[in-house]
């Protein structure tokens, strides 16, 4: 483990785009190999059950999904595995490491499970094939319907082992989809599409979902009654709190503060949209901007002291940063004639946003203090609506590269762009939740 941390924390710590190394302690630069790992189907260590195959390969599949989504691993294809998962052991010394080193695997995930009623107990281990050592051993208990969540938690442990920071796979993505027909409703699921839930079902237009700090609330805007406004959904109870606009206008969107106690919202009246600070019941604390044009799409800095947003005060939509204490705004983007939908990295260092390139839209990041933007997606299709992962190492967004709009995840460098499980409709406006507590 020592060498792992040494080698890989060095890499991950300083160069996110150089997340390439080998178990052997050799640092491989950009364009080098990803870490080769094998993930064995799990052994049923309990009594025989009809669903055994589903759990055995399902948990392994979810682990593979997450490892590949991270972009840091090359998962060795299961069809080449030599040993039989249901007869070989899952602890060191009870299986042959050569069966795995032969395949080129330098890491190996093995595990077992047993089902008792509606509960599943899962034991998962990470081995260092080259060193012949066990790196992680974990036992999880959970409801059988949430067995994939156990896989996500274990991958978060693997990534913690490698980088010193847990992964972000035990999280959820909220998004807007028209998969149910012509209406736009809000859904959320894990990144692999599991545990999918429908948040709204009002057969109108629902937009701009964003998570509360505890992952138990979603703020969204909706046309479900009396014009557009914001609603705060309490997920455990399913209850909505409607934000009553302070005047004759309407709330177009908003975001909960990092501590969950306030909301920054866009309020439009008489054609002018401005930013307002609200309490979590929707009451106005104070107005934040006093501009005649469009001020829209606010997002919080991780310390809750600044707001990044879009303004067209310079003649075209550009990204601005507002300091809440001084009330002063500064312009952040100067290149391009259309820059919108910013989101502030949880690390605090960069802003991600959507920018127009020719007739297309691409995802960019730019340092918080300003500077040269970095384009992360190709202009041969459209990519929009970026949202950071809670660790700031990944960005989810929507893109029409496969025809309809689907959700994608990439590293914050733009590498390893992968499509998430789609709904069948247009999936847009992703919002990445904080890490789940359980």
């Amino acid at each position: 483990m020592k060498f792992l941390l040494l080698v890989l924390s060095l890499i991950f710590g300083f160069h996110l785009d150089l997340a390439l190394a080998q178990f052997k302690g050799e640092i491989v630069g950009s364009g080098g190999q990803k870490f080769p790992i094998a993930v064995s189907p799990l052994r049923n260590t309990g009594s025989a059950t009809a669903d055994a195959g589903r759990f055995s390969t399902g948990i392994a599949d979810s682990i593979v999904h997450d490892l590949e989504l991270s972009g840091w691993f090359r998962v060795i294809d299961r069809s080449s595995y030599i040993e039989s998962p249901q007869t070989s052991g899952i602890t060191l010394g009870t299986f042959d490491l050569k069966d795995w080193s032969t395949l080129g695997a330098e890491g190996l995930v093995k595990g077992g499970f047993s089902v008792q009623g509606s509960e599943i107990v899962v034991e998962l281990r990470l081995f260092d094939v080259y060193q012949g050592k066990e790196r992680i051993a974990k036992r999880y208990t959970g409801g059988v319907s949430q067995f994939r969540r156990i896989a996500h938690k274990f991958v978060d442990e693997i990534i913690n082992q490698f980088t010193g920071i847990p992964g972000v796979f035990n999280t959820q993505i909220a998004y807007v989809s028209n998969s149910g027909g012509r209406f736009k409703e809000i859904y959320y699921s894990h990144l692999d599409g599991s545990e999918k839930r429908q948040v709204t079902d009002n057969r109108t237009i629902n937009l701009s979902p964003s998570w509360g700090a505890n992952s138990r609330t979603i703020l969204y805007s909706s046309f479900q009654e009396r014009g557009q406004t914001l609603y705060l959904r309490d997920l455990p109870s399913g209850k909505d709190l409607r934000f009553n606009p302070p005047g004759a206008g309407r709330f177009l969107g908003g975001k909960l503060s990092p501590d969950g106690q306030m909301v920054v919202a866009t309020y439009e009246s008489g054609g002018n949209s401005n930013l307002y600070l609200l309490d979590r019941s929707g009451n106005v604390i104070r107005r934040l901007t006093e501009e005649p044009g469009i001020e829209v799409s606010p997002a919080w800095s991780p310390d809750g002291k600044q707001i990044v947003y879009v303004s067209d005060r310079s003649g075209s939509p550009q990204i601005f940063v507002l300091d809440l204490q001084s009330g002063k705004s500064r312009r952040l983007t100067y290149s391009g004639s259309y820059n919108t939908s910013p989101d502030w990295s949880p690390k605090g260092d960069r802003i991600v946003y959507t920018g127009r390139v020719g007739s297309r839209f691409a995802i960019f990041t730019i340092p918080v203090e300003g500077g040269e933007p970095r384009k992360l997606t190709s202009e041969s299709f459209d990519s929009e609506d970026p949202t950071w992962s809670p660790d700031g190492r990944f960005i989810a967004f929507s893109s029409n590269r496969a025809g309809k709009y689907h959700l994608y995840v990439m590293q914050s460098s733009g590498e390893n762009q992968r499509r998430l499980t789609g709904s069948g409709g247009d999936d847009t406006k992703p919002s990445w939740s904080p890490r789940l507590v359980d």
């Binding site: 937009l207 004759a248 206008g249 177009l252 439009e268 829209v296 259309y338």
Partner: protein, 197 residues
């Protein structure tokens, strides 16, 4: 979602003698809406039902239902060619009125002057390009620009409300400029009779 279709639109049509048949049940009075705000406009425009004018063998009503209502009823949010109130169109990411748009608005203002009890919700729409929340703000600008021009032509402000649907209810679904051009529009939905008249 609660909707209260009150056939207000049909009643209104009868009042202004537009000679489109209404269902016999369409006697409910329009809901007075004196707040003049956009939040109320969606409700009042929801009372307009393009499908209500089917009695008497006439074609579909020639005025527009609200785009949200059209979406809910599975109908295209198109302004019929026979509608007395015409759409106006905008350039990408713009909300200023072209000479053409002003000409159309003058025609709409003339109709509003000869039908002084009509109340209208001005809808602002955008094409699909760009991001949703910005487009909601842009659609609000478009609706407001059209509304303000009608006011400058002498239409009473309390007859006009605005609603922005951003890029959410396109009239044309394809991904091409010819389609986007049709979607960058302001629509005029007859929302009922002026409460004060």
């Amino acid at each position: 979602m609660e909707f209260h279709p009150r056939m207000a639109y049909c009643t209104f049509l009868l009042v202004v003698s537009l000679a489109f048949g209404c269902a016999p049940t369409a006697t409910t009075k329009p809901v007075p809406d004196s707040s003049g705000n956009g939040a109320a406009s969606a409700k009042s425009s929801d009372t307009a039902r393009s499908g209500a004018g089917q009695n008497g063998g006439t074609k579909e009503s020639d005025a527009s239902a609200s785009s949200l209502k059209a979406l809910q009823e599975g109908k295209p949010p198109i302004t019929p060619a026979s509608s007395p109130l015409k759409d106006v169109f905008f350039d990408f990411d713009r909300y200023d009125l072209s000479a053409d748009a002003r000409g159309v608005l003058r025609g709409n203002a003339d109709w509003l002057k000869t039908n002084p009890s009509a109340r209208v919700d001005v809808e602002g729409h955008c094409d699909e390009r760009g991001t949703n929340e910005y487009n909601l703000a842009l659609g609000a600008k478009r609706a407001q620009a059209a509304r303000d021009y009608l006011v400058s032509l002498g239409i009473a402000p309390d007859r006009l409300t605005t609603t922005s649907y951003g890029e959410e209810i396109p009239v044309c679904q394809e991904h091409s400029e010819s389609c986007w051009r049709q979607n960058r529009r302001a629509r005029f939905v007859i929302a009922g009779r002026r409460a004060t008249s």
